[in-house]
Subunit: 417 residues, 2 copies
Amino acid sequence: MKERLIVQKYGGSSVANTDRIKKVAERILKYKRKGRSLVVVVSALGDTTDELIELSSQITKYPSEREMDMLLSTGEQVSSALLAMALHKLGIKAISFTGAQVGIITDSAHTRARILDIGAERIKEELKKGKVVIVAGFQGMTEKKEITTLGRGGSDLTAVALAKALDADECEIFTDVAGIYTTDPRIEPQASKLERITYDEMLEMASLGAQVMQSRSIELAKKFNIPLIVRSSFLYKRGTMIYNPRKNSKEAKFMEGALVSGITLSKNEAKLTLCDVRDKPGIAAQIFKKLSQEDINVDMIVQNISRTKRTDISFTVPKSSLRKAVRIARNSSKTIGAGDVAVDDDVARVSIVGVGMKAHSGVAAKMFEALAENNINIEMISTSEISVSCLIKKNLGERAVRSLHSKFNLGHIKRSK
Amino acid sequence: MKERLIVQKYGGSSVANTDRIKKVAERILKYKRKGRSLVVVVSALGDTTDELIELSSQITKYPSEREMDMLLSTGEQVSSALLAMALHKLGIKAISFTGAQVGIITDSAHTRARILDIGAERIKEELKKGKVVIVAGFQGMTEKKEITTLGRGGSDLTAVALAKALDADECEIFTDVAGIYTTDPRIEPQASKLERITYDEMLEMASLGAQVMQSRSIELAKKFNIPLIVRSSFLYKRGTMIYNPRKNSKEAKFMEGALVSGITLSKNEAKLTLCDVRDKPGIAAQIFKKLSQEDINVDMIVQNISRTKRTDISFTVPKSSLRKAVRIARNSSKTIGAGDVAVDDDVARVSIVGVGMKAHSGVAAKMFEALAENNINIEMISTSEISVSCLIKKNLGERAVRSLHSKFNLGHIKRSK
């Protein structure tokens, strides 16, 4: 019988120091005893990446991205070699590789490269010998043998891409939290761990502020239908499975009953209002085209009801793009003969997420009700297939999360297998 | 006109921290202003290698050599990337590479690999673009893409091998001393810097205890007749050229007048005496064959004059091989019916080195005279084409060096161009 092949990824806090690396090795030993085949992706030791960035900043404020990749990719190489040594110490056959060595081929966009291909032959060869194969996360190389890194969440991406290339049975993401929660437990201590969540919900939660995983890794997993398990490397407990419910109709049916899976809070947006705009077809399109041409990710958009042939248009942008967005909005305003541009960055966005809600009316109404009961004024609203977001005053963000968590009974949520 | 191509190597103390790396960049700027083409080999930052070794030792006492190479090779990659950034900051075009990237192909003897080939195409391509090419020292890869390191003195070796592969005009070794001295200045403050020294003298000095460069790099430079310049990265001063005098007969002639170039002292040897050995052809051969089979490097050998058909045989071995050598000597003694094995590790070896001495009688006699004048008893003597060594009591080593330095007038030596 073919051994079950698992790709595991251990994040920076899971390999923060040599003691933690030994713990990871012990965990791997348990898997080997169960007869599993393992490919292990590791991040850099705890603060290594920060220390390397500090070194570069001592030299220059504007390091070349290519050289940053040369520098930063060493962090994962170090932790990979150390984990191999720790496994050897426990009598487990293991071998470590850089991204380049196992043929993780990327494009040449240094510091944010995209994986184009993985020639996993070398890994398969070593798996056949019964070895645990350790791969330095976050990195690859171009066809021209330039070392690249994959950007934020890069090691997760390495793990998912390897799981696909190797046709693995599972992909486990070990991190410093026990799984995906109904909301941030630092805000709502009643937050409960989800046993399962769909790719779409997870993507929505990630884009709306949940920090556990980057969207690109989830998207890749969804694309290839690779079940991800997010779990703690500090505990021996089941985590949260991120999966595709369509494969199992019973599951999908159950999911629809759950309605709301999670609550997210984001304070990274700002609101712009373009006042006194002529209410004429094409005017709004003109503004948003300009913004998108400059790579500004406009999110919520609200246009007031027009009584006087003139209207106000409000929209949110990431705070990091705020200055640029204001400049563009002011120019647009002149061009189209509109009025002032008002800016408000004292806002927070609170969202409810759940695949169930699209089949049920009344979910949004329940949300507004909860906020009203807590005297929280809603400034803007936006909805998607599986989420409803409200823009509110920033200092009310946490209160809003707690009130929604309680309203939707998320403290008791359990999605059992 | 073709630009003059120089390969430079900067050792660990030359790139100890980011400030030192900036200084190296400034030095390189001066070369570029003179229109030089440059390939720069760097060691790891100051203590990096020790820190990495410490990490591995926290995990296991017996790390796999392959994984040690994965681990340690990151040190030079970090310093290479940082130097590239420092050069960019000064407006110099530069690019860094790992050993693997520039095709430094080695055998698979991890931690002590030998360079088999260098495919320098990538370097030539970047040099043509006017870039300073930085290469991580001390490392290479096997045909199977395994990362290897070259062992002690590995970065020097990288520099010499690159100088050969690129047909460079010069190879400069930047270190924390100003050049090669007539003897260790910590022992004899009168020690003077040599402007020139032959490969053979340097090899003899290295094998007799001088620490500046490893023999294997000098041997490689000699083999391909690549002039090496050893100089300080802390000073802007001419260093010492290590070269082949046969190419220049005037020089060679001058050299013969110098007689003694340097004095070395080694405390890393121990003396064994096999007593009461039958004085019969083949007996000695038998013992030394056994020792060589076990890779023990026997150095000085003295057999006493025989009066009684039985004799004592004394020889020196490196202290690191002493235990093994004693065991072999005792076994041999039984086999050949000899007596006790006496061990003396309270010895030092003082040597005079110079290509001139082979053409002159009286040099050895002058050495013995100097030692006698200082009441230093000689226990063993050995000679080579270009050196004479005496084994003496360890605590007299420094006194012997000073007396010889003065006797041969080395405080005033100057070998001008």
